[in-house]
Each structure stands twice: as structure tokens, then as C-alpha cells.
Symmetry: C2
Subunit: 407 residues, 2 copies
């Protein structure tokens, strides 16, 4: 079976983390200058690994195997959250490159191959999964025309032109080429650590629905406006939250999470009754039926509040992703490789976070592997994973890929 | 009785509104360049009215009568909220100047006088009622040393030096000099308009307590953190609001108002469980007993939430003012003057907003007169009052002042 070179793997992980280093982490928004520099470096590393590599017209770094036999697509993303961690998705991309090298160095793997991709903009600088959606044909030119960086307002078109890929075609998926898609990522939660496990075999990725709830009342002086005639948008908002937190627990599945992460009152001053208020309600679950049920409940609460008054309440679905299920055969291969290299120290688990794999899974059999996040921390520069776990994960990943391709 | 000159009065109101004009209102933060210019103009207008006027060491514009007989202190403030209205307190200062002129022009008033003051910083650019508190001896040097502009961070000391009054003594109240204090102001609410009245005789000013409630949980990923182990500071905050809105109505008086005007989640992002949250809860009532009862309830709710967990909840009283009652004799004088000039078109009413009068009332018999705010609007550039109501209010104010001084 292919043999991972732990030192080579970690050296590349550390080298990639130098691009945009921030404290012990990385600040590397997609298509920033430093991100483009890191993509050029990735092209070189892929070529060294024997892949035909280039940056495509959306910023994906695509490395293609020259193998004549069956091929797996693998990868993740190397862009980061602002002041994010050094591993996150970058680990999965380096895993792909290391697997390509391990295959190259193993005579038993000479007829199988992996294509490795660093998907552009997984972290949402310009939009939602722009690179992965481009690859499966689910991103039109008009959306790229409209996209601007949340970091600095740069149009995506301008950033692509500056990166020198404004006129490069966008790579397109040829489903016949691949047995499927594999992605490795840090867990971003604390379940593996809490369970004393070192490998997570991902059973699927939750669907996410994000609602904006808007409350319109009447701005007024907090001293001279009697309670009975107030139309306080802030009160309407906090009462809406209370209704959600009261009714959702009766309707959820075992893995449901919901979050009100953002609240904005207008004008948000101590002596002024808020005339407007807005919040974001996010719901995640592996099952569409559960998401549908909670969406209906949120709408019911909003409509009841709007009807009761005194404020107008409006709820809009502003984004949604569909839950995906991992391929059973791929999971079995990951289970077997994990049991071989870390007997009893692996578990199956769902992913509560979104990943490029949920886009690829729309077109290809897919699965994911997680390694533990120390303290469950992610999207923060202090994110980390033990080096031994990084190396173990890569070996499990390589074995599973070889088994799938030879199966 | 003294006769108000409506044209002269309105001309001065309009002229003062030119200093810092913004749309149909005024942007004139205390001790800004334009505010200092307006204070110099006020000094000239006071001198024209026969008063000995100067700007004191905190920015108060103080105009002293040369009358040998009894004197009333009157005034209000000419600083404004950001992009505020043209009248607000400025109207009350011009009323004072017009009353001084009316007394000067009326032989029957030659032995009585008014001192007129524009109190510095009523709107809180540097602190709370800095000018009025300085005048009654309730502002120490250390507080001035610490004070900085909320508009631009300028230290108050620097602003006073730039205004040329850094070394001018702060005027101090001589209680023996005055029969008491009278202030006129726009209502800032809609009660007069809704009642079809043109004059409000203010019975007292509410006390205000402002609480900061802080919630500390644990910031985490909204997708990978199961509900049972979350410490969501945002949930703790909205549930606190619900508890307040549920229990306060059982404890309030007929005039109580309470407001959650400000809510801040940290980091306020859709996919991050808020680790910290903070809100401001403001309570207003004319009765200390009611304020005490509601303060105790807010603290009880906070302590119960803190004890129940999972977030830490802390409540702090960050400012308080004491409710004040108007002087019965002054109110009777205002009633009589209002009935004479606007029979049946006046009413007694409490003030839900804070005013300089609540500071002066700590040392002198005091009362206030309100004129209607069109649509109840204030602290916005669209604030306005009918000119006829402005002139009527000044005449009632002058008559009441003369009656008090001759009584």
C-alpha cells in the first residue's frame, strides 16, 4: 500500500502556512495577493508530485494525474477565514498532493491516480463555494460578474484578472473520469477529542438554512413614548427569539442545531426605541425533513407575530444547502484503513460544518475524513491538530483511496 | 405685564439655527467650533438684552440681570443631538433672552429680573449635564479631566481651551440670589398634540436608571457545537429580555417606561455562537419607589439567570437620575398664565425626558413649560413646533415669571 512520508507532509503543511501567516495561524482570503502566491506555489508542488497543474479561470488549482487507470478526485480549499487556522482545508489539499506522491513512489499504485484540487473561495470571500460550484457547472457568469470581496470590495473579475487567470477557462467536471471524490479536513468541533478518537469517517454533511428576520416598528424617544403606543422593533425581535427557543426543541432531530448569531437594532442607542431590527437565524440538520419542519415553524412564528402586531415581521430564506450522504463503499474503505492504522480509535460522525464535498457529492460518490481539532477550535488562528494525527490521517486517507481505486 | 415680541423672538430662533444648520435641523455638539461660535453670538444677544454676559469655564453662557429686585434663573441648552432639531432646548434659551427684553421694555418690570443661562452639554457630548452640574457644585475637576467628546474623542479640557475659556472660573450658584428656576422646552413627545393642547405645565421630571447587562458564554462554531453543550450569550440575552418584558408589567406605575435600546452580540456573525453579549436596559418613572422596585426585579432576573447558567450574567447600574417635582407655586403661576393666553388649551403633564431643570431642582424651586412637538418628533432634524405655539409659550412663560417675581 502507498506509504505517507510524514516529514515531507508536515514540511509542506508548514510551508503553505507561511503564505499569509498571522500569529500561529493564517490570514489568506481567496484571491488576495498572498492567496494567489500560495496557489502558484501549489501548482509547483503538484507538478513536483507528477500532476499536470494550473490555476483555472475561477482560481481553482487543478492538478491532473497522468495515470491510465482509474482516478479519484480529491482536495479541499486553501483559502482561510480572516485570521483563521493553518490547517482547516489546507490540510486536505496537501493530503492530496502527498497521496499523489505516495502513489508515484509505490509500484503497486502505478496504474491508479488522483486528481488534486484546491477549490477556490470555500470560505465565502466572494460567494458560496464558488470554485466547487464552478467545477460542477453550477456557477454562471452573471454571478461571477456580481461577486465582490467581503474583505475589501474588490470585484471577483478584477481579482481574477490580477491573478492572471481572467481569460483562462474554468475547469469542468468530467464525471466519467472519476470513481468519486474524497476530502480530508479538520473536524472543527470537539467530538473526536471528547471521544478519545483520532479519525472521523464522515457519514454526511448537514444542510444549512439561513433566514433573515426583519422587524419594522416606529423609532421614538424612550422617555416620552408611553408603553401602550410603542412599536418597539427590538422587543419584537427578542420575543421572536424566545418563541423559537421555546418551540424548536419540540421539533428537532437528534443532530439539529440552530443559532441566532447576529442581531442588529436600529439605531441601537440607549434612549431611542428601535424602529427597525434584524436578525439571522441559522438551522442545520442532516435531514431535509427536519429542515423543512423547522423552516415552517420559523415562518409560522413570524406570521403570528406579524398578525399580532404592533411591528411588521418578515422572514426570508437567504441561503440554503442540501444535506448530503457519504458513499457507503467509500465509508467502508475509510473504516477499514482507519481500523488498520488506528484500531479502535476512529468513529463515524456527521459533519455539522459545510464543505466543498457537499457540492461535489451532487455529482460524484463522495466521502470525507476528519482529524481531531485540539480543543474543538476552528476559524481562529489558534486552531491546531497534533502532528501525529495529521500524519495518521494522511496514511488512512491514502490507503482508503488506493483500496477504492483497486476495488 | 411684559409683552413678548413674536417677530423678534422667532428671528432669534431662526438665527441661532443657522449655527450648524443640517437639513431643516441643527448639528451642534457641545464645544464644537460651531457651538462655540453660537455661544459667542448668545453672549452678544444677552448683552443687547441688558444682561452682563460671558461664557464660563465649563461653557455655560451666563447672562446676569442688573435688576435690584428679585431675580429668577431661567434657561435651557443650545447644544444639540447629532443632526438634531432646531428648537429642542435652544428655544428655552431664546425664551430667556426674550423675557429679559420684555422685562426691560415694560416699566412695570423694572425692579425684577431674569438671569439667563445656556447650560453646557445637556446632550451628553462630554458627560451628563456637565454645565448644570458645574453650576450647582456637583461636578469635580477630575471628571472634567477625564471627559472626552463622544463625537470625535477631543478631551473636554482641550475643547474648553480652544474656546478660550480654559482659565475662566466656572460660574457657581448663589441660591440666595434666586426665587427659583424656570425652563421652557419642546415636549419631545405627542401628548399635547394628541390632547389638542398648546401648553404643558410640567409637574416633574422622571428619574432614569440605566443598566448594562453583560452575558458571558463561550464562542464556538455554529455547525459543530451540539445544543446541550452550548453557552450561547445571545440566547441568554434574548431570554433575559423576555423575562423583563414578562415581569415588569406587573410591577410598574402608570407612567413607567422601560427600553432595551441597545443590543450587541460578539462577534455578531451568522455561523458563530456569540461568546459575549451586552445590552442596555433603561427604566424611567416619576417615583423613586417604582424605580427601586424595577431595579430590584432586574437584578433578581439577572441573578436567577446567572445561577441557572450556562452563561454568566452581570448587571450594573451605569447611571441614575433622581425624579424631581415641580414647585407648586410656580406651576400655579404657569397654569394661570396659560389659562389667560390659551384658555382651556393647556394641561399639566410629567416630563418623560431628562432636562437641566432636574439638576437645578436639587437646589432651587423649579418648574418647566412645554410647547407641542409636531408629530411628537424630537432628536431628529425634522423636529418642529408651530410658530404660533412658540410665541404663545414665550408669552405664558414671561407672564408666569413676572407673576412669580411680583408675588
Amino acid at each position: 500500500m502507498p506509504k505517507i512520508d510524514g516529514k515531507r507532509l508536515i514540511a509542506d503543511q508548514r510551508k503553505l502556512a507561511e503564505f499569509g501567516r498571522y500569529e500561529t495561524g493564517v490570514h489568506r482570503p481567496c484571491l488576495s495577493d498572498i492567496d494567489v502566491a500560495s496557489r502558484r506555489w501549489l501548482v509547483e508542488r503538484m507538478r513536483d508530485a507528477g500532476l499536470d497543474a494550473h490555476i483555472d479561470g475561477i482560481g481553482n488549482v487543478v492538478g491532473r494525474s497522468r495515470a491510465q487507470g482509474p482516478v479519484l478526485l480529491m482536495g479541499s480549499h486553501t483559502d482561510t477565514q480572516p485570521r483563521g487556522g493553518w490547517l482547516d482545508g489546507a490540510m486536505g489539499v496537501i493530503y492530496g498532493i502527498e497521496v499523489a506522491r505516495a502513489f508515484r513512489d509505490d509500484p503497486a499504485c502505478k496504474d491508479i491516480g488522483v486528481d488534486v484540487v484546491s477549490w477556490a473561495d470555500e470560505e465565502g470571500n466572494f460567494g458560496s463555494f464558488m470554485g466547487a460550484r464552478s467545477f460542477i457547472g453550477a456557477l454562471d457568469e452573471a454571478e461571477i460578474d456580481r461577486a465582490v470581496s467581503r474583505e475589501d470590495g474588490t470585484p471577483m473579475r478584477a481579482a481574477l484578472a490580477k491573478a492572471g487567470v481572467g481569460n483562462v477557462p474554468r475547469a469542468q467536471l468530467d464525471p466519467k473520469r472519476y470513481r468519486g471524490y474524497l476530502e480530508a479536513h479538520i473536524e472543527q468541533g470537539g467530538k473526536l477529542e471528547a471521544s478519545g478518537k483520532r479519525i472521523g469517517v464522515v457519514t454526511g454533511i448537514v444542510g444549512i438554512r439561513l433566514f433573515r428576520v426583519s422587524f419594522t416598528g416606529q423609532q421614538n424617544h424612550a422617555g416620552t413614548t408611553p408603553m401602550p403606543i410603542r412599536k418597539d422593533a427590538g422587543v419584537a425581535l427578542t420575543e421572536f427569539c424566545h418563541a423559537v427557543h421555546t418551540s424548536f426543541p419540540k421539533l428537532v432531530g437528534p443532530l439539529t442545531v440552530w443559532t441566532v448569531g447576529q442581531i442588529n437594532l436600529d439605531p441601537n442607542m440607549p434612549s431611542i426605541i428601535p424602529g427597525k431590527a434584524q436578525m439571522l437565524l441559522q438551522v442545520r440538520d442532516p435531514e431535509v425533513e427536519v429542515l423543512d419542519r423547522l423552516a415552517a415553524e420559523a415562518e409560522r412564528i413570524a406570521q403570528a407575530a406579524d398578525a399580532a402586531g404592533p411591528c411588521r415581521v418578515r422572514i426570508e430564506l437567504i441561503s440554503r444547502t442540501v444535506p448530503t450522504k457519504s458513499d457507503p463503499g467509500f465509508m467502508a474503505a475509510l473504516d477499514a484503513a482507519a481500523e488498520k492504522h488506528a484500531p479502535g480509535s476512529w468513529m463515524r460522525m456527521p459533519s455539522g460544518a459545510g464543505h466543498d464535498a457537499q457540492i461535489l457529492a451532487l455529482k460524484l460518490p463522495s466521502a470525507m475524513l476528519f482529524v481531531p481539532s485540539i480543543g474543538g477550535v476552528s476559524h481562529h488562528y489558534s486552531e491546531d491538530t497534533a502532528e501525529a494525527d495529521i500524519v495518521l490521517g494522511a496514511q488512512v486517507f491514502a490507503d482508503a483511496a488506493a483500496a477504492i481505486l483497486k476495488g
